[in-house]
Symmetry: C2
Subunit: 320 residues, 2 copies
């Protein structure tokens, strides 16, 4: 199938209650690529400066990530500096230096325009639209965004949202974009623009998947976060969550509601590993068997009753 991801590649300074790191590999595109490479071939499109360490390029290549869309241009790489307090749910940005990322225009190499799965990480919605317009026959497109674009580029973001199949936003962003306090109403507002599914990210409380349907149990799936004993660095949790979702869907080749639910659980599991170390470091050593073990444990954490065989039919397919 093949997944295209477009987004930021960064060098981060991160401070959390567990410690501090400087100049570590970051950026939505990096987190997503690394995590999604557990599932399928990933092609990334992004930009770095001449200061970007070769070791990171070698690492991404070693994950079989296609770097033909990686632009290396004169100047410095995007640099983000942030810190987390005891409430690990939200980062406080201390400094943002866009550097070469400020002039980034995603050019999709011709070979990659046929990729079927497209993830538009949090970049200017106009750029997200540029990417979509370059793709020839995407099967499933998804985007992430943030409060900044909702305020500054609402019109473009609305257009971008109307063009994709799947929208991933956090709870506050969904309410802010839809201007509705009730999350289900807010998600329905987004569905009414065109997407088939909205995933609402709720940090330590997990996520909700909202699709169309008559009954609540058809159109809503709620997944808690997988409880992690020791959260070291929450950076990239949302991006690797998205990677688990898109990775699973690409690997399975299904897009049923049942597949979407399992995809959300995959996202949950991948994110739970990501936060166990700084940068993408936990993902470096993550084995597929660890993902499977946590996935199965998660069923026991969330299920309270067996569905009857008949009721179970749309949900019985096991992880691919």
């Amino acid at each position: 199938m093949g997944i295209l991801v477009v987004g930021s590649i960064a060098l981060d300074d991160v401070s959390t209650p567990a410690g501090q790191r400087q100049g570590i590999l970051g950026g939505a595109c990096t987190y997503f690529s690394t995590a999604a490479s557990l599932y399928d071939r990933v092609s990334l499109v992004g930009v770095v400066g001449e200061d970007f360490p070769q070791e990171h390029v070698r690492f991404l290549s070693a994950r079989d990530i296609d770097l033909r869309g990686l632009q290396v241009v004169p100047g410095r790489t995007f640099h983000w500096s942030g810190q987390y307090g005891e409430d690990l749910d939200e980062a406080q940005t201390l400094d943002t230096q866009l550097n070469v990322f400020g002039a980034f225009h995603p050019v999709i190499p011709d070979d990659l325009r046929d990729l079927e799965y497209v993830f538009l990480a949090n970049i200017h919605p106009e750029l997200q639209i540029e990417v979509l317009e370059q793709m020839r026959a995407p099967r499933l497109t998804a985007l992430d965004s943030m409060n900044y674009w909702i305020v500054s580029s609402r019109e473009a973001l609305t257009r971008a949202i109307s063009m994709v199949d799947l929208v991933l936003l956090n709870e506050a962003e969904v309410r802010m974009f839809a201007e509705r306090a009730n999350l289900l109403d807010a998600a329905q507002h987004i569905l009414d623009l065109g997407p088939g599914a909205v995933v609402i990210k709720r940090g330590q409380y997990g996520s909700m998947l909202v699709t169309r349907g008559e009954r609540l149990g058809e159109r809503l799936f709620i997944a808690p976060a997988y409880p992690v004993a020791n959260v070291v660095d929450p950076t990239g949790a949302g991006d690797t969550f998205a990677a688990g979702v898109m990775g699973y869907l690409a690997r399975c080749g299904e897009d049923s509601v049942a597949a979407l639910r399992r995809a959300v659980v995959n996202g949950t599991i991948i994110a739970s590993f990501t936060v166990e170390d700084f940068s993408i470091d936990r993902l470096r050593t993550l084995e597929w068997s660890e993902v499977e073990a946590r996935y199965n444990e998660f069923r026991h954490v969330t299920h309270f009753d067996g569905l009857t065989v008949e009721e179970m039919s749309p949900l019985t397919q096991r992880i691919c």
Copy 2:
């Protein structure tokens, strides 16, 4: 089996974004009794003043709630006044007049000392201990508490907790009592005092059930809140949640982890109805068939995969 509940009976003034009500029936004991009476015979022990409207006594009697433990004494009934902002999760207390509740000492009528299920609503932990010492052979005891007692009566609360089987506290209270930020660690601290289970209430995000066990999926169950289209008044959500838990356990007569999980879901469902109107008004008309319908819908909202028959065995028993 029979359930004993000891706690406050109040007349409340409540203001929420959906409206205001004055002098409405409130109090943890009232909410619990009304909700638990859907499941089993409830005996309440509490105190009211001479101003307590007879219509409320008639209502409780009509629910087959045993009022032999209801003390009616000279003076005014406990009065609570509170308001909720747009974030409906936490009430701001505007006024508390303990009145006759200030001198309340629970005296359990002799007949009721044989009841097997005991719920100690949020009252002074010394009083909770007094109740427990009066019971002859309780099968399952549970308590609720609050930040106030954690700060002012930590020793008594610790003793009360060590005497019960089940502790229900909200997320902040669990962390505060255990002096640990990680919820699972904090719950384990409470289990180490003696109880077999801790239920952590998380408001709009649902609840967690923590029991003993090796694997995470054995010792942890996470349930989201049932999404309610229009929350009118959150007062009593926690008490009726506890009522669903205790009511289900009393009715089923089981105390396995599987039964506890289904009990937590029952609590979730009952609480979801409670918040749809002021006071206990939604419970006045609530039919058992509505509880069952929401319970089954909830399975579809939370399950993403079928457990295999073998794995499912401890969880397959249907709602009693």
